[in-house]
Amino acid sequence: MPRARFTWLSLYVALVAMALYNLLPFFWMVSSSLKTDLEVTSFPATLLPRTLTTDAYVRIWNQEGFPQYFVNSIKVSAATAILSVTAGLFAGYGFSRFRFRGKNALMLVFLASQMLPGVLLVGPYFKMLSLAGLYDTHVGLILAQTTITLPFSVWMLKGYMDTLPIEIDEAAVIDGASRAQCLLYCVLPSILPGVVATMIFAFLLAWGDLLWALCLINDPAKQTMTLGITNLVGQFRVLWSDVMAATVIGCAIPALFYLALQRYLVQGLAGSAVKG
């Protein structure tokens, strides 16, 4: 058995090494955010704060506009998630339950649109918004985010629906239900976990975006979290303890959501990519 024990031990050593590697930048972020502004600019840097202080958090939270960034991000991301899953639910049902002319071509368009680079789209979209008078509004930003999250929402939801037997729909239609009622009362409740997972993915994709907010939002009061934090670094003198406190706040929501969701991650990612 010594050989088996050796294998067992090296497995854990490797897993712990992986955990340390993954945690180090987080450790640095949190540790720096708890330092005084004097210590954070001392050379050489200290790994652990000599004096613990939450001054940076207080300063950043009281800084003009910062809580507003947080609210803006929640607003934009939540609207994106709801819109893209609603539209995705109907389209996913159409793709899952019907055969129609142009279906394959349309599905290919949805899939291929995910491969387009954001920088190709954002310029002309910016012009479109300016013409429509929607530049520098959350509506314009939400519309863009929704469309970007829409293709994978459709594919993911279609995948969940494909796992349901079509007999459910048949029974409902025979009982006199319309197709829309079928979707809302028979299909939707059965795939609810999948719907929630898709919604959270869309939320987080919108939360992490920088490019679109950078190009479509000008008014500081309308900035999202990522944009606000980015501008914090662009300022004349970077106060790293404050910036790190801001990034802790910016990272917390996605980290918590993903960890709560991790059971769906493996299926969600790969499931929508290959399997039905």
Partner: protein
């Protein structure tokens, strides 16, 4: 029971409409814009912007940086992702905890990752130099983000850390789909760990490896927030990739024709790169 055709169109219409208006128009506008085409018929359409690209050292540099970044990051992602996927596929105690920890870097929005690594690689106040000095690996602090080659390398290291769980998750899903019997059969035939990996795992994982590499390459070609937050393309233009190049041409120099032509080139590269993925996915869906 297959539903009526006309109903189907009602179901897919809202999503399709959004897609064609919000993405379709900009795509067409970008292509026409890159050709300097205008509806009023003022200037005549031409390929001048594309011709200019190939004589512009800054564009060639951005193309080269994109290739180096994508090549470096995707291969490191594949190695790390495969190793961690194999570890997490083993029967160990506390597997749920290790899996959570394994996903963590990927939960970080990429621009925030860029900002944190900008600080970690900072010459005077950064953690990396502090540790390297304390351990005696270096005698002078290194200016990681101030020297072209090192800045590119730092960027690769940062995005390797942030993005590898994505590849790992796809590979892990593939590993879990390989039937256990195949390993048992291999063990009965006297195969060791390496032989089982070489002759059972790799063949069973080929599709997933292709998907992971293609999707990751597409993501990395478009990398924006990480570069913007960490180096801003600098020093000079040493770490500027295509996304950043297009953004600057469009929103800082307002040269929309030129920016669009570079963006169209990037889109063409991406669609060609994505072909294997599109084919595999559509085939499996049938």
């Amino acid at each position: 029971m297959i539903g009526e055709r006309r109903t189907a169109y009602w179901f897919v219409a809202p999503a399709s409409l959004l897609l064609f208006v919000v993405l379709g128009f900009p795509v067409v506008a970008a292509i026409l814009g890159s050709l300097n085409f205008s509806w009023s018929g003022g200037a005549s359409a031409s390929l001048k912007a594309y011709a200019r690209l190939w004589t512009d050292a800054e564009f060639i540099g951005a193309l080269r940086n994109t290739a180096i970044l994508v090549g470096g990051i995707v291969s490191l992602h594949l190695v790390l992702g495969m190793a961690v996927a194999l570890l997490l596929n083993a029967e160990v105690r506390l597997r749920w905890l290790f899996r959570m920890l394994a996903i963590l870097p990927w939960t970080m929005p990429d621009v925030i990752g860029g900002i944190i690594f900008r600080f970690i690689f900072d010459t005077l106040y950064g953690g990396l130099n502090a540790v390297a000095l304390a351990l005696g690996w270096i005698e002078q602090p290194i200016d990681w983000l101030g020297r072209p080659g090192l800045a590119l390398l730092s960027l690769i290291m940062a995005e390797t850390w942030r993005g590898y769980p994505y590849v790992m998750l796809i590979l892990l899903a593939g590993l879990q789909a390989i039937p256990r019997e195949q390993y048992e059969a291999a063990a009965i035939d006297g195969a060791g760990w390496w032989q089982a990996f070489r002759y059972v795992t790799i063949p069973g994982l080929t599709t997933m490896i292709i998907i992971a590499v293609v999707l990751d390459a597409v993501w990395q070609c478009r990398l924006f927030g990480m570069v913007f937050g960490m180096t801003g393309g600098g020093p000079g233009q040493a770490t500027q990739n295509l996304s950043l190049f297009v953004y600057k041409q469009y929103f800082q120099f307002f040269d929309t024709t030129y920016a669009s032509s570079a963006a169209v080139v990037l889109a063409a590269i991406l669609l060609v790169a994505a072909m294997p993925y599109l084919r595999v996915t559509l085939r499996e869906k049938e």
